[in-house]
């Protein structure tokens, strides 16, 4: 059986989540590998939740919010970008496959972009294989 990656998506309420909603109401097809968690803002995402998702079995994490300059809270996405930069650098230094964390800007009108992003990510993770971080400790 082909490996089906599990992606946890942290989507901001105002842009990316609405974009995902639009993809659904527009009947745009995309792979069912993503589990979406809605946040009020990507700036509210503590890295602990990304790490927890990896350790509990996620193969990839998509963090998506408003385009730069469009944040509903003015600058939450800029803060998120710094935190993601820090998180990815730490994962990279520890050899923990930072390329499984994707940050994307998707507006409420970009249903197609959301679907394309999920498709692209699923293909990327299928080629890469399961995340080693979910292996049981024993």
């Amino acid at each position: 059986m082909e490996f089906e990656p599990r992606i946890v998506g942290f989507l901001c309420n105002w842009c990316a989540y609405s974009g995902a909603d639009l993809a659904g109401t527009s009947r745009i097809q995309y792979p069912p590998n993503i589990r979406v968690i809605r946040l009020m803002c990507t700036g509210a995402l503590d890295p602990i939740y990304v790490l927890r998702a990896f350790l509990e079995g996620a193969d990839g994490i998509l963090i998506a919010g408003c385009h730069p300059g469009d944040c509903h809270y003015l600058n939450g996405n800029y803060k998120a970008r710094r935190r993601v930069a820090i998180l990815k650098e730490i994962l990279k230094e520890l050899g923990l496959e930072e390329d499984r964390v994707w940050l994307r800007w998707i507006s409420a009108s970009e249903g197609q972009r959301f679907a394309d992003t999920v498709k692209e990510m699923v293909e990327y993770l299928k080629a890469k294989g399961p995340s080693p971080m979910k292996n049981p400790i024993l």
Partner: protein
């Protein structure tokens, strides 16, 4: 302004004289510093007579003293407290000021050169006046050799920020210069002119050998640090490497408690955020076959790293505090250095530069999104 004080064979006495004078002049209301008795005790000292027991050069660091500064001077508004800080404590002090955990105006900092400190238990079980004298004698050549049979703390062995002043950055109100000097003859003092003049000191330049000794030591330590960091990052690489590096962790959280940067009183790991019901744990055990208990070992260390690596001052107190001897500090400072480099940020360098997590730029990390 720079000056030099003669110590006449008694470096401790000379420094205590300075501390007393600043107390008597009312420049500070009390001193926060190590006292020696049946060991080393940090205390907030108001009594001039008790300053005789001050132990500014004891090569030991029971806690990162910046933590105590944030206890006594968090709110401020009641005059200045003088504090004697080693360079790594001073860097933690600067970070805590920026995180609003210390009222900057309530503290007068006396910084000092540092060649290294011993683990508290090694210091406590040794002839500690001999340890102190041995290290004071090594400042002139700037070659730190631990006392026979002992080692310096791991963080000290690879420390490159061992002076209190740095070019154009934060400088303490007063800095004791020991490197390249024989402290039994003289100690260099650098600081605010008013302060030095109040002590009756004239402008005087330090011996030129001082700068040479500092740069030679920095070069040697930089090479050692690079080697140690590469070795540690090699060992802790990948999830298996990381698990093995942390395999003896007993979840006591001492590394966090002793970290000067981990100041949050309501740390997520002390809350019920990740408490789950019995049925949730059973569901996890069902799905995975087994769930480690206590849970969240890797999550704890990786999260702590995400939260504090940008401001890690590499004091190594986490390693010293680990009852299992895990060298948490080298791992955190090795990763911290890489993370800080993303922002060209050096913790403790400046009071003006905001910590990376406290600001952002519109045009940066454009390849991330």
């Amino acid at each position: 302004m720079k000056s030099v004080i003669q110590t006449h064979g008694d470096p401790k006495g000379a420094v205590v004289g300075v501390l007393k004078s600043l107390l008597n002049q009312g420049v500070v209301k009390a001193w926060l510093l190590p006292l020696s008795g049946s060991g080393i005790t940090y205390a907030l000292v108001r009594d001039e007579g008790l300053l005789e027991k001050a132990s500014p050069f004891a090569p030991v660091m029971p806690i990162n003293l910046a933590r105590a500064v944030s206890v006594v001077a968090k709110k401020g508004g009641a005059g200045k407290i003088g504090v004697l800080l080693r360079p790594c404590e001073q860097r933690a002090f600067v970070e805590l000021v920026k995180f609003h955990q210390i009222d900057r105006n309530s503290v007068l900092v006396v910084g000092m050169d540092c060649l290294g400190t011993y683990e508290l238990k090694d210091y406590a079980s040794s002839a500690n006046t001999a340890l102190e004298e041995a290290i004071l004698r090594q400042f002139k050549a700037g070659e730190a050799t631990p006392y026979q049979g002992l080692n310096f703390r791991k963080a000290c062995e690879v420390c490159v920020h061992f002076t209190p002043t740095n070019d154009g950055g934060y400088a303490p109100e007063l800095a004791l210069g020991l490197l390249g000097m024989d402290p039994y003859e003289a100690i260099a003092l650098e600081g605010e002119p008013d302060l030095l003049k109040g002590l009756g000191l004239e402008e005087a330049s330090e011996p030129p050998s001082r700068l040479e000794v500092i740069s030679a030591l920095r070069e040697k330590r930089t090479a050692k640090r690079k080697e140690a960091f590469a070795e540690t990052l090699g060992k802790a690489r990948g999830i298996e490497g990381l698990r093995s590096y942390l395999s003896t962790c007993i979840r006591c959280h001492n590394c966090m408690v002793n970290c000067p940067i981990c100041y949050c009183p309501d740390c997520v790991f002390r809350t019920e955020t990740f408490d789950r019901t019995t049925s949730q744990y059973l569901a996890w055990a069902e799905r995975k076959g087994a769930v480690p208990m206590l849970p969240d070992l890797i999550l704890f260390h990786l999260t702590r790293m995400n939260h504090m690596a940008t401001s890690c001052v590499a004091c190594g107190m986490c390693t010293s505090a680990c009852p299992m001897g895990i060298d948490v500090g080298t791992l955190f400072s090795a990763v911290g250095e890489k993370v800080q480099a993303l922002f060209n940020y050096v913790p403790g360098r400046s009071l003006e530069e905001l910590p990376p997590v406290a600001e952002f730029k519109e045009e940066e990390f454009l390849d991330l999104g």
